[in-house]
Amino acid sequence: MTVVDEDALAQRASRGEAEAYGILVERHAPMARRVAYAILEDREDADDAAQDGFLSAWQAIGRYDPRKAFRPWLMQIVVNAARDLRRRRRVRTADSLDRVSPASRDDPARVVGDLDLGERLRAALATLPERQRIAVVMFDAEGFSQAEIAGFLGIPEGTVKSDVFHGRRALRKVLESVKEEWDDR
């Protein structure tokens, strides 16, 4: 689907066409679920948050300005929904972070030795501070600009830049360790 198609769909959705909005939901669901997972670190919570985001966006569709890009507008709503859910379930999130020892936070490669690449990356993400986790996923995986991410999170662009740098450094260690393992075999 081209960008033009997306603009046209967003315009139709902004006029209240549910069918057009359905296509947009289908198109952006994987991204919304990935970003919500990066924030919440739990599949079910991420799906609940992504769903809340899509429902809120539909409720607010009358306020969407069709001259602007739809994706960042939607993403802001999904990020807010996920952060809101995380605030409400803070105790559970704190439990999951507590399982990661402080030492492993310094060296994510240490906790991810025997897992496959996907599991290793998820485990390494879990060792990152939340802001770094969100910044690196939104920047490298979802292709948002650092300025857009700064807007989503309500932080300065320089902070996003620093978070992306630190997040990347930790995740690249994991990629490199996997690559070395494969080279040794």
């Binding site: 990935r34 997972y37 990066a38 769903q51 429902l55 996907g118 920047f139 995986a141 292709g143």
Partner: protein, 114 residues
């Protein structure tokens, strides 16, 4: 490429990005989309209790307006210059007979004679 990219680079890292997307790829996208669309449809068609609640508030507002208007009308009649209530005023006008309408009303009330 990840190997050659500086961590400071302002460009997205395609290799890390792809690895992250597949690591975070959620299962059953179609099921998720179906779930969201079902909830959207549910919200579009309001349930009878939501409908009733909306009519309840509209009814309450209409009843309040009616009460205020009735109260205002009552005080207007009560505050007529000669101090009589509405029924007294009508009766006195009929008895007076000076108004043309009184003849019609009195004629219509009188028993019909052959």
């Amino acid at each position: 490429m990840t190997d050659n990219m500086s961590p400071f680079s302002a460009d997205a890292d395609p290799i890390l990005g792809e690895a992250l997307r597949s690591a975070l790829a959620p299962p059953f996208d179609a099921a998720f989309v179906g779930r969201v669309m079902a909830r959207l449809a549910q919200r579009s068609s309001r349930s009878w209790d939501e409908e009733l609640a909306q009519w309840f508030w509209r009814g309450l507002v209409a009843a309040s307006v009616a009460v205020v208007l009735a109260g205002w009308g009552w005080t207007r009649v009560g505050a007529s210059p000669d101090g009589n209530d509405a029924s007294t005023t009508v009766a006195s006008e009929l008895l007076d007979g000076s108004l043309p309408v009184a003849d019609i009303v009195i004629a219509s009330m009188s028993p019909s004679t052959p």
